[in-house]
C-alpha cells in the first residue's frame, strides 16, 4: 500500500481524512522494530492469559490435585520418611510444573499454529522466525512462572513447609533450568510440523521430566548435561539450603547456562531442520 502518490501531509491530519474520498492520509507505514515485535507477541500472550483464565486455572487445579495425591498417598505409605524429604519433593514438584508448562505450551502452541495456518505467517515474517519463537518462549516461561508460583504457594501452605524463596536466585536458577526444556519443546514442535500424529505422543515426554529432575547428579555426574538435572540439583540447594545465586561455584553457574543455551539452540536447530524439510515436502501449512 505504499505506492502512495499523494504528497506528504502533516502527520497530525492523518485521521481526519474520510475513507474513499480520494485523499490518502499521511499514515505511511513505519517499520516495526524488535521492540514492537516483543510488545505484540507478549501482549498477545497476556490477552489470552487474562481473557481465558479457565485454561490457567484448570492447569493449576490439575497440578494441585496430583500433588495432593502424591502428598497424601506418600504420607500413608512412607510416613516420617516423606516428612523428612517433603522440602525436596515440593521443590521438585515446583520445577516439574514449570517444565511441563514450558514444554507443553511451546510444543502445543506450534501444533495449534500449524492447524490455524498462523505458523507460516510467523515463518514468513521479515523478522525471521527465531526472534518471534524466542519471544513466544519468553512469554510462555513468564506465564508458567505465574501459575507455578500459585502452585508453590498452595503447596507450602498445605504442607507447612518452609523454603528459601530469594526471588532472584529462584527465578534465575529455575528459569535457566527450564530453558533447556523450552528447547525440547521446539524440537517436539518441529517434529509435529512434519509428522502430525507423533506430536501427540511427544506430550508423554513430560513424564520423563520427573526422571531428569530427580537424576542422581552426585553419583552420576554426567547426568548433569541432561536437561533439568543440574538445574534441579541447584534449585534444591537454593530453596532448601538457602544458597544464594552468587554463592554457587562459577563452574556450576556456567554449566547451568551452557546446558540451557545448548538445548535451546539444539531444539531450535531441530525445529529449523524440520520446517525446512516440511517446505521441501510441501507439508508446511497442510491442514
Amino acid at each position: 500500500m505504499s505506492a502512495d502518490t499523494s504528497p506528504p501531509e502533516d502527520p497530525g491530519g492523518a485521521a481526519a481524512a474520510e475513507p474513499g474520498d480520494g485523499v490518502r492520509p499521511d499514515d505511511e507505514p513505519r517499520p516495526a522494530t524488535y521492540y514492537h515485535l516483543a510488545r505484540a507477541v507478549l501482549y498477545r500472550e497476556f490477552l489470552i492469559f487474562v481473557r481465558y483464565p479457565a485454561n490457567a486455572i484448570g492447569g493449576i487445579v490439575v497440578s494441585l490435585f496430583f500433588f495432593a495425591a502424591l502428598f497424601l498417598g506418600g504420607q500413608l505409605l512412607a510416613g516420617q520418611a516423606l516428612a523428612d524429604s517433603i522440602e525436596g519433593i515440593v521443590v521438585g514438584y515446583f520445577l516439574w510444573t514449570l517444565s511441563v508448562g514450558a514444554y507443553s505450551s511451546v510444543s502445543n502452541d506450534i501444533g495449534s499454529e500449524v492447524q490455524w495456518g498462523t505458523l507460516e505467517r510467523h515463518i514468513t515474517t521479515p523478522f525471521g522466525f527465531a526472534p518471534v519463537a524466542l519471544l513466544k518462549g519468553v512469554a510462555k516461561v513468564v506465564r508458567t512462572f505465574l501459575t507455578s508460583a500459585v502452585i508453590l504457594a498452595v503447596m507450602l501452605l498445605a504442607t507447612g513447609t518452609r523454603l528459601s524463596l530469594a526471588p532472584v536466585t529462584v527465578v534465575a536458577v529455575a528459569g535457566l533450568s527450564i530453558v533447556s526444556v523450552l528447547g525440547l519443546g521446539f524440537a517436539a514442535g518441529g517434529v509435529t510440523v512434519l509428522y502430525k500424529r507423533i506430536g501427540n505422543w511427544l506430550n508423554l515426554l513430560q513424564f520423563g521430566f520427573v526422571g531428569l529432575i530427580s537424576a542422581p547428579v552426585f553419583d552420576l555426574p554426567w547426568t548433569r548435561v541432561l536437561p533439568l538435572a543440574h538445574g534441579s540439583a541447584m534449585l534444591q540447594r537454593a530453596m532448601v539450603d538457602g544458597t544464594r545465586l552468587w554463592e554457587f561455584p562459577p563452574a556450576d553457574l556456567a554449566l547451568l547456562v551452557a546446558v540451557a543455551g545448548g538445548y535451546l539452540a539444539g531444539g531450535y536447530l531441530v525445529f529449523q531442520l524440520a520446517t525446512r524439510r516440511a517446505r521441501r515436502l510441501g507439508v508446511l501449512g497442510d491442514y
Binding site: 498477545r44 514468513t124 517446505r279
Partner: protein, 355 residues
Amino acid sequence: MARSAASASDGPRKRDETRSADDDASTDGLTGPPALSVERLTKRFGDGDDAVTAVDDVSLAVERGSVVGLLGPNGAGKTTLIKCALGIVVPDAGSIRVFGNDVGDGRRAAYADVDAMLEGARNDYWRLTVRENLRYFATISGVDPDSVAARHDRLLDRLDLADKADTPVRDLARGMKQKVSLASVLAGGAELVFLDEPTLGLDVESARTLRAELRRLAVEEGLTIVVSSHDMTTIEAVCDRVVMLSNGRIVADDSVEALLGAAASDAVRVASPDLDAEAVAGLREAFEVLDVDREARPPAVTVAAGGDRLYDLTDALRAAGVTVSDIRTVQPDLEEVFLERTGSDLGAPSGGDRR
C-alpha cells in the same frame, strides 16, 4: 537454515530500501521489477512412480497493480505455485522473485511485501478481537501498528467490519471471519497479496461483497492481487488477466476479454416455437448447426453464423416461416474456454489430489 539463523541478528526488514524503490516505481509508472516473476518453476511431490509434478516448468510475470486469476481444477498446481512464491514450499527448480527479491535466498526482503490468505486456513487468532489481529499481524509483517492505525480503521470500514472491531473473531459469522482473515493479510501493507479460494464456503451474498471489495482494493490501493480459484465467477468478476493451469502447466494466459473473445465462436442461438424438425433440417442444409435444444421453451437452435452470415440466417428463418422469439450471440464463459483448451472441465481434478 544456517543462513537464516546467521542473519537472525540483522534488522527486521529493509523497509526503507524497499520503500524508496517502490516510490521510484510509483513516480516512473510501471518501470521497476514486476510484482511477481516466476521462472521455470518446477515442483514434484513424492518419489518414483508415485511422484506427482504439481508445478511443471511454469514461467509467469505479474505486473504491479494488476489482478491476476489462477484458474484451474483442484490439483492443477495453483496452491503449490502460491506456496512456492511465499517460500512455504521450496521448489525443485526455477526461481521466484517478489518485487525483484529472490524468495529463495534474500528471503527476509521478499517477505516484507507479500502475504497470503491460504485456502481453508484461519490465518488469524480467533481468541483475539478483529483489531487486535490486525495490529498483531501488521507487526509480524514488519510494520509498526500505530503507524497504520488509521489505515486499519479504513480497512475495517471498507470490509464492513468497523462495528465488530472489538469483537473476538470466534464470535463472528463465517463470512465475517473470512473478511477478518483478508483484513489481517492486508493489515501489514503487503503490496502483493495471494488469495487462495477467497470465496470458498461463503454464501452468495458474502461472496459478492468480498469480490466487490477485492476489486475496490486493487483499484484504490494499487495492490497487486493474485486470486486462485476454481470458481470462475470470482475470477471473471475480479481479475484483469487469467492464467489457466492444468496438470501443473499454464494452458492459457491472457486478459479476460481476450480469452473470452478468442473463444467467442460465431455461434448464434435462435429460439422459436416454429423450430420443428423440418425447420431445423432446412437450416442444416445451409448452416453449421452446433446444437439443437428441443427441451427449451420455446425450442432453440445454435447456429454458426458470424458476421454477414447472420443476415443469411435471418433470411433463411423468414423463408422457413420461423417467427423468432429470441436471438442472441452465444457468450462463452471461462469454463468453456478452459474446457476448450484442456479438454477437461474445472470441476474435475486434473491429476493427483494435491492442490
